[in-house]
Symmetry: C2
């Protein structure tokens, strides 16, 4: 089977590709060829089968067709302009996150109009499809009411995925990722950046800034869990989804205080002292509109699994990112 | 104020235009010019101000710009390919119902980038944005999970309307219309057609076919109520909507049996005998997935009003469509 990964150079994309290449199997089927696409050509990991790395902007005419040339039976679509950029650059956000996704769906549909072709398509959505006012625990039938252009683009993509699946053009599944922590690498400017930073930096012996109260609650999973969600979705029989093709992934509902206690258990008081409190009203206001907790029982019943504590999330980070930890 | 009506030749569009032209005022402001657009040039009613009738397909390049030439401060967007056609012709449905709507929103945004222009935009959405499985009474935060391409296109348009409004490009309000009965004119092939037919035809002395059980429950309002929703939306201060710009309109939850009893009260047993029962499993199955009842308290609190009985709906039909009634 040929497998196409769009957005293969991103943080989750790289980890997914590395697992696909190492195992050589996905959803019980052997991978013959990996086609890795991103706006810059992704790095190719060691892999026994064929591997193509393609610099590709899905929103440009004809690009989606090219990516489908070998008719990959499994497509991971992770490519997106992130939340902050989609908010700052309205046109770029719609071009990449909406037009790009639609171009992919249309290319699949057109390919299927010429020959039998109904690939599995795993789409990375986001809890940003939900926006305040929200109940304390967000249920499985909560309305999509995003408060960002990014969330709007993800919600629209979910609707398209469901309709194209219903019409039989493809076999789609959308997975709404929690906020991913601990993100490896450098601190970034995302409003959610501190959720990773207050663990990652102290674990690496560096200082981190905490702009909100310890009581702030949010919904988390590790990069490792995110990759497992994608792989599990790839192997899932979608007839179990019915007409609702997008699922809120399981996660951990925890407060900043819970994060700090787990850091103390993992790395001691010295690590906790590296968190500097610098309240930022703008960030506090943005974060206040975010989801705090979900009933993700639908995904859980379908076998998706996330961490159950921040101890587990820190452990995954220490195992998966050994070089980023202070000796 | 200039007022643009897109979809002015449709059933609701014609009734809206006729009321706008007769009153000469909307939302407390005098109408200087009516711009009436549809795929075929709409008829122009008698009107004291200026009136333009324009044949226009929104999804064609540049058409939306042309319609905005005089910078109408109020836009009614009612144009759509109907449910059955959007299901039969996938490409046409997306072109008209999604690309057409997006072209309008983009034209407004681009006009506003050159000069101050933030028109009110009243968008006709539909309860087709909801799909089974549904609760008996559908609440205000029920997820958008359409089961048709038409419903998908309306749901996507709602999401775009909210985002364009949030970004300050326009002042949007989406109103989810109930199934409109009694539609004047000839029977049509829509799956919902019998809801009008079993009243309209017997009232006109003709036979009608009923393909489902008397127990089938659905959500209704008259064409008169639909026009009043649009006019009320045009005058509404949208700051009262918060970030959720689309509203389920009030309606009447009633069964086919309720319809028949109201027909008996209005026109007697002879009229009821003109209903011929011809069960149709396909139609019964389609209708079984439709909403039956809504909590529309949000719209009600904002002053939207619908009929409270089928007696009222029949009365509105007899008053508004005197020529279609048997002597």
């Amino acid at each position: 089977m040929d497998v196409l990964v769009i957005g293969a150079a991103g943080m989750v994309g790289r980890k997914l590709v590395s697992k696909l290449a190492a195992g050589g199997v996905v959803g019980g089927r052997v991978i013959d060829r990996l086609i890795l696409a991103d706006v810059v050509a992704p790095e190719a990991p060691a892999f026994e089968g064929n591997i193509d790395t393609v610099p590709a902007d899905l929103s440009e005419p004809g690009v989606a067709d090219t990516l489908l040339a070998t008719r990959p039976q499994l497509i991971f679509h992770l490519a997106a302009v992130v939340s902050g950029e989609a908010e700052a650059d309205f046109e770029k956000g719609y071009r990449v996150n909406l037009d790009g996704t639609r171009a992919l769906l249309e290319a699949v549909r057109m390919a299927g109009s010429k020959e039998s072709y109904v690939p599995k398509l795993v789409f990375a959505s986001s809890i940003a499809v939900f926006g305040a006012p929200l109940p304390e625990v967000i249920g499985e039938t909560e309305c999509l009411a995003p408060l960002t252009s990014y969330g709007t683009q993800k919600a629209i993509s979910e609707l398209l995925l469901a309709d194209y699946s219903r019409r039989g053009f493809l076999d789609g599944i959308g997975i709404r990722l929690p906020t991913i922590v601990i993100r490896p690498g450098k601190p970034n400017k995302a409003a959610s950046g501190f959720f990773s930073g207050i663990l990652r930096e102290p674990l690496a012996g560096q200082e981190a800034v905490l702009p909100v109260d310890d009581s702030v609650r949010h919904w988390f999973a590790s990069p490792r869990a995110a990759v497992n969600f994608l792989l599990h979705a790839a192997g899932l029989d979608t007839s179990r989804l019915g007409s609702r093709r997008s699922l809120t992934m399981p996660g951990l509902s925890a407060t900043v205080g819970d994060q700090i206690e787990a850091l103390r258990r993992a790395a001691g008081e010295a690590a906790v002292r590296r968190i500097r409190r610098e309240p930022d009203e703008t960030i506090a206001r943005i974060v206040a509109g975010w989801p705090q907790n979900f009933d993700a029982s639908r995904a859980a019943a379908l076998g998706f699994v996330a961490e159950k504590s921040f101890d587990e999330i820190i452990k995954a980070h220490l195992e998966d990112e050994p070089r980023s930890v202070a000796a």
